[in-house]
Every structure is written in C-alpha cells, then in structure tokens.
Subunit: 244 residues, 2 copies
DNA sequence: CGGTTCCTTGATAACGATCAAAGGCCGTGG
DNA sequence: CCACGGCCTTTGATCGTTATCAAGGAACCG
C-alpha cells in the first residue's frame, strides 16, 4: 500500500472537507473565503526526513499539515540544535514566523511521510484583512503556543528528567494512544527516544536511563517505540512531586 | 517629587500622544479608533509590588504600561513559581492571555510604581474587527514573544549560568544602559539579583557566585543594583562559547 | 534601633552531562 | 539470503555544574 502510493502525485485536496480547515483557525472562514484559499494553495508530499523550510529562509506563507508529522527545530550559531515541538496532522505550521515577518526562525522537517498544503502569504494576508474573525483565531492559536512554551520553561527549570518524560508520554498518549479492553493503554511514540530526549532538553543516555528506571518500577513497558501503560494512575503519579 | 505625586489621582492620559499607542501595536489605529479606546480605557496607578492581575483570574482586557515596570510570573500547583519576563513602559501586557481566552495563565505585579491603562476586552475586540490591520500588529507582536521564549529555551538547555547572566546584562544594558564619555557603560538593574536568578532559571546563590566570578575577571563591577561595564567587548566575549 | 529582605560565602550532594564501548535493528547491496 | 554499515539504544564510569543546606553580614524601612 505504501509502495503503491509512493509515486502517485499528491492527491487533489479541497479545503472544504479538509480536517485542518475544519478543526483549526480556518473554520472562521465562510465558504467563499475558503474557496479562495483552496484555489491558491499548493499541495505537496514530503517523504520522511525532507525539509519543509529552513531557519533563515524568507517566509512566504503558512502550511497546513494534511497528514503525517512534522518536527520544528531551532539551531544557534554554535551548531547546537534543539527540537521545539512536533506538529500533527490538522495543525497549521509556520504561522508565528509568518506573522513576525522576519523569515523563518526555525526549521521544519517531516518526521513521517506527510501531505502538506502551502498557503501563499499574500492570499493569507488578504484573507485576514477581509475576515477579521480569522485573525482572532490565529491570535488565540498563537497565544496557546506561547502558553505552552511558558509552562514548558517552568517545568524544565523545576522538574527532573524522569517527571518531564512522564509528562511527555502522557501528552503522546492523549494524541496517539489507544486503550484496550483490559484498561491498558498502548501507544507508538511518533519520535525516537533520541528525539524525545531533544524535546525534553536532556541527553539520550539520560532519557534511556530514566526509561529503564520507569520500566523497572512498573510504570510502563516498552519495546522499540511501542509503549504499553498497564495502569494509567501509576503513570499519573509520576507527574506529581512526591510530598515533602 | 515622589511624595507630591503619591496622593494625586492618576494623570489624565489621552491615547493620542501616549508612547504606548505610538510605539506598539496601537499605531495601526486611525484617530477615530484610537479615540474610542481612549474614552473606554481606565487609568490606574500601582505602587511597587502591587498585583495587576493574578493567575487564574478571568481575563477582561489588556493593559498598556504608561510608565514603570511590570513582572510576569507563573506558578504551578506545587507552589513553585518563576518569573517569565519583565514588561517595560510602552509595551502592552496580557495580550496572549486575552486572546487565548482561558483566563490569566500568569500573574503580573508592578516592580516599580507604574501607571497602567486598562483596555476593556469588548472594546478591544470590536477594534480588532473594525481594523484588521490592528490584528496583524498583535499577531506580529505575539509571534515575537513566542520567538523570544523559544530562543530562551534553547539557551537554558545549552549554556551555563554565567553565559546566560552575561546575556541578561547585555539585554538590560540595551534597554536601560547609559554610556559615559570614557566608553564605560553604566546601568541600574531593574530587578534584584535574586529576581534575575529567577529569570535565568537559577538559584540566587549560583547567580551571586557567577557575579563574583565575573567581577573578579574584570567583566564588570557592581555595587547593589548598579553595574558598570568598563569594556563592552570584554562582556560580549562572554556571550560566545569558548572555541573548542 | 529591630526587623525584614537581600546578598554573600562555605560545605556537601545530586542530577545530569560526558566519554567510551558494545549490542540491536534495519535498509542496502552484494 | 547473508553481509555490511549506519543509526539508535543501552550500560558503565567519571566529572562538573548547579542545587541544597547553613549561617553570617549588609542594606533598607518603619
């Protein structure tokens, strides 16, 4: 199946009916406005690992993730780099950099094969001017991103790796987890442990050790990227600082 | 002078001519739009240390800092808290929380006596709908805040306290520094070293030691909150990772 | 003055980084 | 089908930065 689709051109997608358009900020548009986006957008397929944009590039619009998964990472002059977050299907990518208007401040790469629509900047800009409610949606969205960044900063400063790892797994569970009939929850990590370490501001070795420790303590079991959580409450206990 | 002003009511300020209105997002408004803000706003004086809003409060508008300095901090259920940033005169406060629409996710306190205007939410909302360009300004502003949070996260993860401290001092120098004729630069920190430690995600003791070390190394000299930088290049050297 | 609050300094401990090495998994190519 | 190389993961040993605990001193304010 994957093989069959490998050489097909990107499917013809119409914004009407696209889940990105329904779930996120675009729902503020009326059908006519959405149609204007629809005709202007370009759809592309990215193989795993391809770059969607690079830090420093001029920013000429935003991207809607139709399917797949995208990682956003920043790097500094010394060559250090860090993954900031992953962007799932249904989300809009690159909005902050577009609005800041100073080129991309981070790079985006597909983690898994992804179908992505590009909305040109001038089209978006006129849509915003024509539909003020759309701006409010983007404002709300950006504000939530900022809030997430702030709480992440607080956690990084205060909590040890093991607890942050537990939080990350809970996050992934909420997005990608499937619970079976006996109450156990299974999920497949969208990223490698190594990349998870990057998200946690930690070294791979440290994360590996934390994982081993948590497996040892019966918080979850894991093989490769698969994680099984036998008792959710046990995992949730990890999120709280031990009393005193 | 301070005494004379202590009991005076907040000065009558008109948005026309207010530096916040000129410098920041509000410049996108035409005179009529600005006048509508002007009549709806409420001006208040906050003594040093007073709270402007508290985390969890419902969010009913945004604030313009006319003068003074404001600190924004988040706390978590365990009672930990962390200062996220300071907001200077001329900036607009609480916008992200307003747009996210879920109540304040952080608290704001005046650090020094401050004059602050409150713009009610419904007035702002209708201004945004009437003047789409205003939304673009807020979008650009929020995007820059997010970018700052991201680069801060990167630095926290990678650089030691001493380097982060150097960066903070450079930042404060840019905002509050005055250079004298012999090339030395003097500034007064807007916050205590203890609060600076909070901004740096470090303990006061650690910051104190770093300060002593840098003074010892001749990077700057300090008494109380006063900092004198005899040689700016020497300070800027601290920002770069030593080669290899 | 007394009482804060802030800053300093020392001793110790812990968490995580770093260095090093080996094993597992997977895709590629012979 | 197997061999190879690359990347991810694991594990061990050690080191360093920073937090923690503790206490004394300086500055500020009523």
């Amino acid at each position: 199946m994957a093989k069959a689709s490998r050489w097909t051109p990107p499917p013809k997608l119409t914004c009407t009916g696209c889940k990105t358009a329904q779930s996120a900020e675009w729902c503020a548009l009326d059908p006519a406005g959405l149609e204007r986006i629809n005709t202007a957008k370009a759809t592309r397929r990215y193989a795993a690992g391809e770059s969607i944009y690079l830090q420093g590039d001029p920013c000429q619009g935003v991207f809607c993730i139709e399917s797949g998964l995208v990682a956003v990472r920043v790097s500094d002059p010394d060559g250090n780099s860090k993954m900031l977050r992953t962007v799932d299907a249904g989300e809009t990518l690159g909005t902050a950099d577009f609005f800041a208007g100073r080129g991309y401040r981070a790079s985006a790469h597909s983690v898994k094969e992804a179908i992505v629509c590009h909305v040109p900047g001038d089209v978006l800009r006129s849509a915003l001017l024509a539909h003020p409610a759309l701006s409010l949606e983007f404002l709300a969205h950006g504000a939530q991103d900022l809030e997430r960044a702030n709480t992440a900063a607080l956690q990084r400063a205060i909590y040890p790796v093991r607890m942050r790892l537990a939080r990350l797994i809970v996050e992934f569970k909420d997005k990608h987890g499937t619970s079976s009939d006996d109450g156990a929850i299974a999920l497949e990590l969208p990223v490698s442990w190594q990349e998870a370490a990057d998200l946690l501001d930690a070294r791979p070795e440290t994360v590996s050790r934390s994982v081993q420790a948590m497996v040892h303590d019966g918080v979850f079991i894991t093989t490769g990227r698969k994680v099984v959580i036998p008792d959710l409450d046990r995992l949730l206990d990890e999120l709280e600082a031990p009393p005193e």
